[in-house]
């Protein structure tokens, strides 16, 4: 690991100024991803500004409904929060489906948003990777692609976003609040993560000196009936091959509200707008769920190693919506 200076600050403005002052400075939260990337030589900040002492670790109710989640709330605390479990179960389930208890105890909400891909070629310094070294090429394209993306990919990069939490946040229309020396701005989660295009090294809309301060969940009464379903190579403690975050409200057999997002299939948490559009107002039947999934996945670009994800995503979408619609009938 390259040597670096370490600063811990207790004031948001001081932290933001500290990072703005140095071009090679980075914020450090729980460390579960950044420390690993620094040890691997992929990240090499000159200065690390530890933000875990900032007063951003509360979950508060918003006046008009909804929740404001401080960026430094630990993943385990957010998953256990009674308001999240009751009002947004998909979020609690998504967090609990990720990593291990130890990592969730360390990881912060802001840090989870900034997780970097676990693409093996990104981690392997001997491999070509446009994300690690722009212009170097991509060894994943003709490599082992079981974990790689099928939607929104480019010829530069097919890495998948690793977060479970963000898939739920995408379905819930979350908004990310960020702060810098220039002030505060709000970025819808849908616009926060970027597709690779020909600049896969640019992963988010966040500027290098911006600090995530909070994530807001809008009021969404229908989200009380929501679910996260994750498919992976072992039962626990593995990244998603495919995951689905969904909320569904059925009235008189028709879809009155639906939110659908996919994980493990794109460089960003993938909000399934096309599927939602087809489902809304239509029948809440397994056939309709399958048709909507097909429409969403029609644009998939697959490789021999990840072609299975189309069928897997279709089946997982269908099963998740079916579970929610059945739950609805019996509730």
């Amino acid at each position: 690991m390259k040597p670096f200076a370490y600063v811990k600050l207790a004031d948001v403005d001081a932290a933001v100024h500290a990072v703005a002052a140095g071009s090679g400075a980075k914020f450090l939260g729980g460390g579960t991803n950044l420390v690993d990337l620094m040890r691997e030589g992929i990240e090499h900040p000159d200065t690390v500004v530890d933000v875990t002492g900032l007063p951003l670790d509360e979950v508060d109710e918003l006046p008009g409904g909804g929740l404001r989640i401080g960026a430094l709330v630990r993943n385990s605390a957010l998953a256990a929060d009674r308001r999240v479990r009751a009002g947004y179960p998909v979020l609690s389930q998504a967090i609990l489906a990720g990593a291990s208890a130890q990592l969730r105890n360390m990881a912060t909400v802001g840090g989870n948003l900034l997780q970097r891909t676990r693409c093996r070629y990104f981690y392997d310094q001997a491999a070509a990777c446009n994300k690690r070294e722009p212009g170097a090429g991509c060894d994943a394209l003709d490599g082992f692609t079981r974990s790689h993306a099928i939607l929104g990919v480019s010829e530069s990069c097919i890495a998948a976003h690793p977060s479970d939490m963000c898939v739920a946040l995408a379905a819930l229309d979350a908004v990310v609040e960020v702060r810098s020396v220039r002030g505060t701005r709000r970025i819808p989660l849908a616009d926060f993560h970027l597709l690779p295009g020909d600049t896969p090294q640019v992963e988010t809309a966040l500027e290098a000196d911006e600090l995530i301060t909070a994530v807001e969940l809008p009021a969404a009464p229908f989200a009380a009936r929501s679910r996260y379903r994750k498919v992976r190579d072992r039962a626990s403690y593995a990244f998603a091959l495919v995951s689905v975050a969904a909320a569904l409200e059925v009235r008189d057999g028709a879809v009155a509200q639906v939110r659908l997002a996919l994980g493990g299939v794109a460089a960003k948490p993938w909000r399934a707008h096309e599927a939602e559009r087809l489902l809304l107002g239509g029948p809440a039947t397994e056939e309709a769920f399958g048709r909507a999934a097909d429409a969403e996945l029609a644009a998939a670009t697959v490789r021999p190693g990840n072609a299975f994800k189309v069928g897997l995503a279709r089946a997982t979408i269908t099963a998740t919506l079916r579970d929610l619609s059945t739950e609805e009938e019996t509730a």
Partner: protein, 169 residues
């Protein structure tokens, strides 16, 4: 170098560490506590699990400087007043290990896991309305961050179930 104060197993320590030093290396190389193990050094195996203010973490992904002024408990501090912890006894009784390399992490993890469960924290297999009895499915899910390459999982689960049933966390 940064000087940090840290309490480890009830003893106040002052350490002079570079910011690069992980909590795991600080414990093992600076304080000679070799109970926490360096298995993968990337947060994938759980052999380095220790408690920071009672909360289980992976010491390999923790910078020591980040844990200044916290209370760290390693396997060396789990026994009290010369008496082994009930989980230590149970691991012996149920053959909860073979080579023993993952054991210190497993036991530290289990100590905190029982507390998390008692505090009502859910896991991925906890049903929404279920108070969450600590059955085998719950134990396996909650302990999934600790790998055992010998495959002593059955004994590990039995040991934890035994202690959970005694209510002696």
């Amino acid at each position: 170098m940064t000087e940090i104060r840290i309490r480890v197993n009830g003893v106040a320590e002052a350490l002079d560490v570079e910011p690069r030093v992980s909590l795991l290396d600080a414990l093992r190389d600076h304080l000679g506590l070799t109970g926490p193990k360096k298995g993968c050094d990337q947060g994938a195996c759980g052999a380095c699990t220790v408690l920071a203010d009672g909360v289980r973490i992976n010491a390999c992904l923790a910078l020591a400087v980040q844990y200044a002024d916290t209370e760290i408990t390693t396997i060396e501090g789990i026994a009290k007043d010369g008496n082994t912890h009930p989980l230590q006894d149970a691991f012996v009784r149920h053959d909860g290990f073979q080579c023993g390399y993952c054991t210190s992490g497993q036991i530290c993890s289990a100590v905190a896991m029982l507390r998390e469960h008692a505090a009502g924290m859910p896991s991925a297999v906890t049903e929404p309305d279920d108070p969450g009895e600590l059955d085998e499915t719950e134990i396996r899910e909650r302990m999934s961050g600790n790998l055992c390459r010998c495959g002593a999982y059955n004994g590990i689960v039995d040991a934890i179930k035994d202690v959970a049933a005694q209510g002696a966390s």
